[in-house]
């Protein structure tokens, strides 16, 4: 049954469909879901897939190539240039230090020099596929730790080229100079020329071929050809890179960077994205399926030692380098835990090492198991990071002490000074109303400081800070933090400890609105309501409504909406079915109201402006027309 391609495809897809949502529900992330799916269908559990997992994996590695293309698309050349220091410095030192440390330990454990170097270099690599997808999934890629992780991964991807060149020299078989030359027997200098030429070719392709091609496709309205063209570009570049002996991931990454400034960036992104997702998923499933549980079961302690030892060494090196390169504690921990696993490239390097007889099949098998287990441990490592380590190291007292607040008796305290709080604060300050600003983002506080605005660093959900901020004497508390749970916690504390304070709060959605109102927050503002409201008015105007009419229509709708939402709060808490019924009824009501307000339709509201009744009177008796003289 497993022979048919369709059956195979079904098994992979079905396993992913079952395990990924479960893993996500449990907060484990999609990557771990795929890995578990792989374990489940692999030879040691259900046995639905067997040795062909290897082929699938080679195919699925292409997902990594696509992912790097997409990463390149996000990275404009200018940004890449900005990252040169972390890429070369942090990345370079990470590879060198980790390889040296691991090789040293291997020698100490009795491995010969050459295989030890091979192990060190192989295990210095981290998994671009797992790390980037996990960072993206958790929204950490743009953070400092995330950017540093990315820089290190980039350097590792680049360093794969020289490592591939060095490996033959480590072989037990005759390590002659001819081994450094490529299969075609080219001398090294010619290879170098070809490599440079290929890179230049990729850049030229991005600049001078892709854009005109897409312009042509766009003009010819060949929408469906965009996808094939995008795929052809990525596959073509990967092929070219393999031909000249470069990493295909690096080549497509470069192409992505070149195209990052082009107007077709989003087009390319959306075309490649689904293929990437599918192939990466496949890749992770293959990793899961490849874990040799028989081997692990035969030498559990040894393998556990290898896994823990490797990860600890990588972790220590990364954390130390992070601190040396000026990352704060939480960013260093992110960097260290994110990159502590061994990457998928190890599978390639290990099979090459076996071919070159650098070390034995048995050792290679153990190393493969180590790599796979370290990969599986990455999602749990992130969970450990987020649930245990980060709350610990980001404890403000540890990293940056809560600012000493000088209580000047300001009437207003604003908690959260991002996009929302700033608007409120600026209007108040412009009217010379002093405000005390609290925020948890050190960067924001520094930016405000440069603008001459004093903001205090601190966690507004802590009662001591609220005291320090002068909540006893303040009149108004503006709750403008962007996280619903935090906002609720602050509201609870303020209500409990400073019941005299009037709270005006920003809320995320309706349930949050109801929650805050129930806590006794005076007025709650849905964070996107204002701009959506303005947009609706503008939309009516563009559809031909007079500005004044559009404003009145929208205002009428808003009054209705506001009266309804108060009413809905009780239902939300006590009667969910009633809530939905009432919500639906309210929609109909609003529609009726709008029809009534629309001046192109007759109604009796705003009768002062209306003259239908006057008109009727006039028809009966002109003299009976009353004072409201209207036309």
């Amino acid at each position: 049954m497993t022979d048919s391609v369709l059956a195979q495809a079904f098994i992979y897809l079905f396993a992913a469909t079952v395990f990924v949502p479960i893993a996500k529900q449990l907060g484990l992330g999609a990557v771990l879901g795929y890995l578990l799916a792989g374990v489940a269908i692999g030879p040691f559990a259900l046995g639905l897939v067997g040795t062909e997992g290897n082929h699938v994996m080679h195919f699925a590695e292409f997902g990594v190539v696509m992912m790097l293309f997409l990463v390149g698309l996000e990275l404009r050349p200018a940004l890449l240039w900005q990252l040169r220091r972390p890429i070369l410095g942090l990345g370079g030192l990470q590879v060198a230090a980790t390889a040296a440390a691991l090789a040293g330990i291997a020698i100490a454990l009795g491995v010969a020099l050459r295989p030890a170097i091979a192990i060190g270099l192989t295990f210095a690599m981290s998994s671009t596929a797992i790390v980037l997808s996990t960072l993206t999934e958790r929204g950490l890629l743009k953070s400092r730790g995330g950017q540093s992780s990315f820089a290190v991964l980039l350097f590792q991807d680049i360093s794969v080229i020289p490592i591939l060149a060095v490996f033959p020299l480590l072989g037990a078989s005759a390590a002659t100079v001819t081994d450094v030359t490529s299969e075609a027997g080219r001398p090294a200098w010619l290879s170098a020329v070809i490599v440079v030429g290929a890179v230049a070719g990729v850049i030229a392709l991005g600049r001078f071929v892709v854009r005109p091609l897409f312009q042509f496709l766009a003009r010819a309205k060949l929408r469906e050809s965009f996808t094939t063209a995008a795929l052809a570009i990525v596959v073509g570049i990967a092929l070219l890179m393999v031909q000249v002996g470069l990493s295909p991931a690096l080549g497509t990454f470069l192409a992505g960077v070149v195209l990052a400034d082009s107007e077709y960036r989003h087009e390319l992104e959306s075309d490649i994205e689904p293929f990437k997702g599918l192939l990466l998923g496949l890749f992770f499933i293959s990793v899961g399926a490849q874990i040799d549980f028989a081997l692990i079961a035969s030498q559990p302690l040894r393998i556990a030692g290898l896994v823990v030892g490797t990860m600890v060494v990588k972790l220590v090196v990364l954390h130390a380098l992070g601190r040396i390169f000026g990352l704060d504690r939480s960013a260093s921990w992110l960097l260290a835990l994110a990159l502590a696993q061994v990457g998928e490239f190890a599978f390639v390097l290990l099979s090459l090492a076996v071919q070159r007889q650098i070390f034995s099949d048995e050792l290679a098998g153990m190393l493969v198991a180590t790599v796979a287990i370290s990969m599986v441990l990455t999602p749990p490592a992130f969970i450990l990071l987020e649930r245990v380590i980060l709350p610990h190291v980001t404890e403000p007292a540890a990293e940056r002490p809560q600012d000493e607040i000088v209580d000047t008796g300001t009437p207003v305290v604003i908690a959260g000074y991002g996009r929302f709080g700033q608007m409120v604060g600026r209007v108040l300050r412009a009217n010379r109303i002093p405000v005390t600003i609290l925020d948890l983002d050190p960067e924001m506080i520094d930016v405000l400081g440069r603008l001459g605005i004093k903001a205090y660093y601190g966690d507004a959900s802590r009662v001591e800070l609220l005291h320090a901020a002068g909540c006893e004497r303040a009149k108004l508390f503006v709750l403008a933090v962007d996280t619903a749970a935090v906002a609720t916690r602050i509201a609870e504390n303020v209500r409990q400890h400073f019941p005299h304070l009037t709270i005006l709060a920003r809320c995320v959605d309706r349930p949050h609105y109801f929650e805050l109102r129930k806590l006794g927050v005076r007025k709650v503002f849905r964070e996107t309501f204002g701009s959506a409201y303005e947009t609706a008015i503008e939309a009516l105007k563009h559809l031909g409504y007079r500005a004044h009419t559009a404003h009145r229509l929208a205002r009428r709708w808003r009054d209705h909406e506001e009266s309804i939402i108060e009413e809905l709060g009780d239902l939300w808490r006590n009667d969910r079915a009633g809530y939905f019924e009432r919500t639906k009824g309210a929609l109909d009501e609003a529609e009726r109201l709008m029809r009534d307000e629309d001046p192109t339709v007759y109604i009796d509201r705003d009768a002062g402006w209306d003259n239908e009744s006057l008109r009727a009177d006039n028809r009966v008796d002109a003299a009976a027309a009353d004072a409201s003289d209207v036309s």
Partner: protein, 204 residues
């Protein structure tokens, strides 16, 4: 050639029958600027500087509006209160509007006969417009008789409106080209009916 500013105020133009058509009769005349106050200031937040600049750029100010409650729609009162500043429009140094011509172009629901001592509205239109007359006077402007279309609720028939449109257009063009007898236009009762006698003979 005089430049003419039509300051238009109607809160529900969608329901208007006469005002809308009067406005469209003069909208395209060269030298005429139509400024629709409810459309420009839907929230009543009036840009005083912009309004004053508009006034300075024109020689004739026509307030066109329905005659709500013997007066103007609300926004024109707001406009008056904010734009006609002391020291700018009147009072010490307030000479910016001096010499300009102004009039009200209005539509009333009641018939002409109602606007008499003996009618149910008890006052004439000119009497009821006394605040505008005096405002113009204080600002040193020449206040002309109103252009009033009566029984606007009943001039539903197109002919009546068409007639009013022609007259309104003639009035605006005559003002622009300085062909209107301003002395007599200032003392007339209603420019809509008196217009033929105020234009030069060869044209009339």
């Amino acid at each position: 050639m005089r430049r003419i500013l039509v300051l238009f105020a109607h809160p529900v133009l969608e329901r208007s029958r006469v005002n809308r058509r009067l406005l469209s009769a003069v909208r395209d005349i060269s030298g005429v600027t139509v400024h629709d106050l409810y459309d420009v200031y839907p929230t009543f937040y009036i840009d005083v500087g912009r309004e004053q600049r508009l006034l300075l750029e024109h020689d004739v100010i026509v307030f066109q509006h329905p005659f709500y409650w013997y007066s103007t729609p609300a926004i024109l009162k707001e406009w008056q209160d904010l734009v006609l500043e002391h020291g700018w429009a009147y009072g010490k140094g307030g000479t910016q509007l001096r010499g300009k011509i102004t009039l009200n172009a209005i539509t009333t629901g009641g018939p002409e006969a109602a606007y008499h001592r003996s009618g149910y509205n008890r006052f004439t239109i000119r009497e009821l417009l006394a605040p505008w007359d005096q405002t113009a006077h204080l600002c040193g402007m020449r206040f002309l008789a109103p252009f009033a279309v009566h029984s606007a609720l009943r001039v539903a028939c197109d002919d009546d409106v068409a007639q009013a449109r022609v007259a309104y257009r003639q009035l605006i063009e005559a003002l622009r080209d300085d062909r209107l007898d301003l002395e007599r236009a200032a003392t007339a009762e209603n420019l809509a009916t008196a217009l033929p006698s105020l234009l030069p003979r060869e044209v009339a």
